[in-house]
């Protein structure tokens, strides 16, 4: 066994790196261009965080547009926001939070070599994800029925402005709210669908027994993505559903 002393590019300390032909055979998941499993793992996680940074800027632009229009047309936005079912939105927030819990439990189960628990938690995560999309579908259906979808059939006539009896919201301004609502929640739902695809793949990998206490990096970076999508929803819920709810 050959022991070399070198500094790992992605860690703080110099570590003794043991490399031998035999060790590589025992760790088929360690790619040859990484010094050790820790460095490989940190590189993968770092890559995911850089991707999430681009996602923050991606959603950031939409949040910025929303913020400006909300200040301009506050009363109209409040009236439009009140027409959305906040109880459904709140339920969806709880559903996503539960799915985030099952993701961390799946990773914990992988670390403890508890295969059945890991598979159950991954399946439960996907179940919560599907619940979220189902509830979202009910919400979208309501909006279609009420003609609140921006376009030629859009209608928002004689809708009271909350707190100002006798005053009605400007339909054109309300249409901007609904455009932002559909773009932001739609983009979020698209991320959920991608997340469901990732977790289906993770479930198959877990089923085949690819994850061990030493190696379950795909679970961790898949989890990072899922939690990020959860964080986006944590902001979307109060911003879109709860502008001016008091009677």
């Amino acid at each position: 066994m050959r022991v070399t002393k070198r500094r790992c590019p992605l860690s703080d300390s110099t570590t003794a790196v043991q490399t031998s032909v035999h060790e590589d055979v025992h760790r088929p998941e360690l790619l040859h261009h990484f010094a050790n499993p820790e460095q490989q793992r940190d590189s993968a996680s770092l890559g995911m965080w850089i991707f999430l940074a681009t996602e923050v800027m991606f959603f950031g632009g939409l949040f910025c547009a929303y913020l400006i229009y909300r200040i301009w047309y506050y009363a109209d936005f409040a009236a439009a926001s009140k027409s959305i079912n906040a109880a459904l939105g709140g339920t969806n927030t709880a559903v996503l939070i539960c799915s985030s819990l099952t993701v961390v439990l799946a990773i914990w189960a992988a670390e403890q070599s508890r295969r059945a628990l890991m598979l159950a938690m991954l399946a439960l995560t996907m179940f919560f994800g599907l619940c979220f999309l189902g509830i979202k579908g009910v919400e979208y259906h309501d909006k279609f029925v009420e003609h609140h979808v921006p376009g030629p059939t859009f209608s928002f006539e004689h809708e009271q402005i909350p707190g100002h009896p006798g005053q009605y919201a400007n339909p054109q301004h309300a249409e901007i709210f609904f455009a932002l609502y559909f773009i932001m929640t739609g983009l979020h739902a698209l991320h959920m669908i991608v997340g469901l695809g990732i977790f289906t793949w993770l479930f198959v990998m877990a089923w085949k027994g690819r994850f061990t206490p030493e190696y379950h990096t795909p679970l961790e970076i898949g989890g990072l993505y899922w939690h990020f999508v959860d964080i986006i929803w944590i902001y979307l819920f109060p911003l879109l559903y709860l502008i001016d709810r008091h009677p």
């Binding site: 301009w72 964080i231 902001y235 819920f237």
Partner: protein, 113 residues
């Protein structure tokens, strides 16, 4: 970040989960009370606390020792801050024609109402 450092005990996970659920209920109930401009402030504060909890405990940022990771997370927040603050500063101070030339009158009207 070693393999063992990232696995928080289950107790923490469940505590964070319960806190997040309480935060959701709280933000939903507070929205029904008329606090004027503070409604938005309270809603955003609760959202930021919830996001921080998810990032620190579920995404394991609390145990991250990787300096490069910290640079990425902090620079992400910094660039988001630039995006929002400079855009708002522009709209708040820019005069001109049109129905929505200035943000400031809208903000002051909101505070007064």
């Amino acid at each position: 970040m070693s393999v063992h450092a990232t696995s928080s005990p289950l107790k923490t996970y469940f505590a964070v989960w319960v806190t997040l659920l309480i935060g959701t209920l709280l933000t939903y109930e507070v929205a029904k009370i008329d606090l004027g401009v503070f409604n938005s402030a309270v809603a955003l504060t609760i959202a930021c606390i919830k996001a921080l909890l998810v990032a620190l405990f579920f995404m394991h940022l609390r145990h991250a020792s990787e300096k490069l990771l910290k640079v990425i997370v902090i620079s992400t927040l910094f660039f988001l801050f630039i995006l929002l603050s400079l855009s708002m500063a522009d709209y708040a101070t820019r005069g001109g024609g049109g129905h929505a030339s200035l943000l400031l009158p809208h903000i002051t009207a909101l505070i007064r109402s």
